[in-house]
């Protein structure tokens, strides 16, 4: 119970902080929308080729906007030494991690909720034509990204080149999550049999579980020094 209340306390604090500062979601949303809009200019109207890459463009906009948000989210923790204060609290330190990861998940999800409709209009695709399974893809993909992204943002935030360090550390490791998310989404964008997405969803789910377990096991050692 204490574990859950710690996670909730951190989520509440992050939401309150974001409501007051509007630093994270606004900058992520601007970046994400701009990426989707700029890439939409590449394709001629009615181009068949665009559907092949549209899923990748959408996920890239989320990944890079997410990296921007993760950096900002952790900056608010290290400014004034707040993260040290969190680590001094008499709580399981992994609860601190999952609180931060959950906040990041919520922020990125909020950005996705605004970006996806715009994407569907600009690229003339209806992701949800065959049901709402793509929503599960977004949830699983965003969860995996938030878990790994939060972990690497904690590692990179104390380096001088944190803006460069985070994508350098995160992107090679996050490849399975991005790949599975893009491939699963493409099944729906291209109108293929939804059953084709199952293998990618299983891969996505498996990676999410593995990453969660690994982070739970190693977080204490990571923050100790």
């Amino acid at each position: 119970m204490k574990y859950l209340s710690t996670v909730l306390a951190i989520i509440n604090k992050d939401l309150l902080h974001e409501l007051k500062s509007r630093e994270i979601v606004v900058s992520m949303l601007l970046f994400s929308v701009l990426t989707v809009v700029v890439f939409s200019f590449i394709f001629e109207p009615g181009s068949e080729f665009k559907n092949e890459v549209a899923g990748g463009i959408l996920w890239m906009s989320f990944v890079f906007a997410g990296i921007l948000g993760l950096n900002k989210s952790m900056m608010s923790e290290i400014t004034g030494g707040n993260f040290s204060a969190l680590l001094l609290a008499p709580v399981d330190r992994s609860a601190i991690f999952f609180g931060k990861a959950a906040s990041n998940f919520l922020f990125i999800t909020l950005v996705e909720i605004f970006t996806i409709p715009l994407f569907m209009v600009l690229y003339n695709v209806n992701i949800f034509a065959n049901g709402f399974m793509p929503a599960v893809i977004f949830v699983l993909g965003t969860y995996g990204f938030s878990i790994l992204g939060t972990l690497f943002s904690i590692i990179s935030v104390n380096t001088r080149t944190r803006e460069v360090m985070l994508p350098l550390l995160l992107l090679p490791v996050i490849v399975p999550v991005i790949l599975a998310s893009v491939q699963a989404l493409n099944v729906y964008i291209l109108g293929h049999d939804p059953a084709d997405a199952d293998k990618w969803l299983k891969l996505l789910g498996s990676f999410d579980i593995i990453f969660t377990v690994v982070v739970f096991a190693v977080f204490d050692f990571i923050v100790e020094d």
Partner: protein, 236 residues
């Protein structure tokens, strides 16, 4: 024999090639006020980090009431209240929002009553709904004291708490430390301010080059002699 609360047994701490702490053995008793002095880079902050479990020793052991720190539960950290030169506060939140958050993290009962009592003590209750971003350095430090004492810790750890404080804030801090000492709390303070450190303490220590080079009761030495010993130890 006084009751030993925290004990360092031949503790070493290395960061890569840097040997930050070298074979430190020392114990702190309940109700002591220890001022630790030393030049920059002497290992004082590392010492405090080890004490509060912010980092683990490379070798040696740290015991709390004779139990190794690594064998204690997470809840053990509630024994400590840490006041640093950093405020540990979220600038976009108000004083109340910050304190409520930390009170939840420390499972404090009667949160609002406790916050009111402490904010009154540091003369910040009227500014409780102001964003921390607008606070002066002295106000930040006073709020930081409130945050550190919310859960009524047994051991208060202070890392250069007087840095950048105006006279008023400095007086409030000294008054609160005197009160805590009167309540038999164990206080461990790292400071560069020789006079404030000497006046407040019951025991004095000097760390240099990662080693504890002097550890004695205040009653055994005058401030002039201690200053002389400090200069001698640091320039050696």
């Amino acid at each position: 024999m006084p009751e030993s609360l925290v004990e360092f047994k031949n503790v070493n701490k290395k960061y890569g090639h840097i040997h930050a702490l070298r074979g430190v053995s020392v114990s702190f008793n309940k109700g002591e006020f220890v001022s630790i002095f030393g030049p920059n880079g002497a290992g004082k902050s590392t010492f405090l980090k080890l004490l509060c479990t912010m980092t683990a020793p490379t070798s040696g052991q740290i015991l709390y009431e004779s139990v190794p720190l690594n064998k204690l539960q997470d809840s053990f950290r509630s024994k400590f209240g840490v006041i640093s030169h950093q405020p540990f506060l979220y600038s976009e939140l108000t004083a109340m929002e910050n304190l409520r958050f930390y009170a939840k993290m420390y499972n404090v009962a009667d949160i609002d009553d406790r916050i009111k009592t402490l904010l009154d003590k540091v003369e910040l209750y009227k500014r409780r709904n102001d964003k921390v971003r607008g606070y002066s350095r002295g106000m930040l430090q006073r709020l930081s004291i409130t945050r550190a004492l919310l859960h009524d810790p047994d051991i208060v750890v202070l890392d250069e708490p007087y840095t950048g404080l105006d006279t008023h804030a400095s007086d409030i801090l000294t008054r609160i430390l005197t009160e805590l000492f009167g309540e038999h709390k164990t206080i461990i303070m790292v400071t560069h301010n020789m006079k404030q450190g000497y006046d407040a303490a019951s025991r004095l220590a000097i760390i240099k080059g990662g080693s504890l080079v002097l550890d004695m009761n205040k009653s055994d030495i005058s401030i002039t002699d201690f200053e002389h010993k400090y200069t001698e130890a640091v320039s050696r």
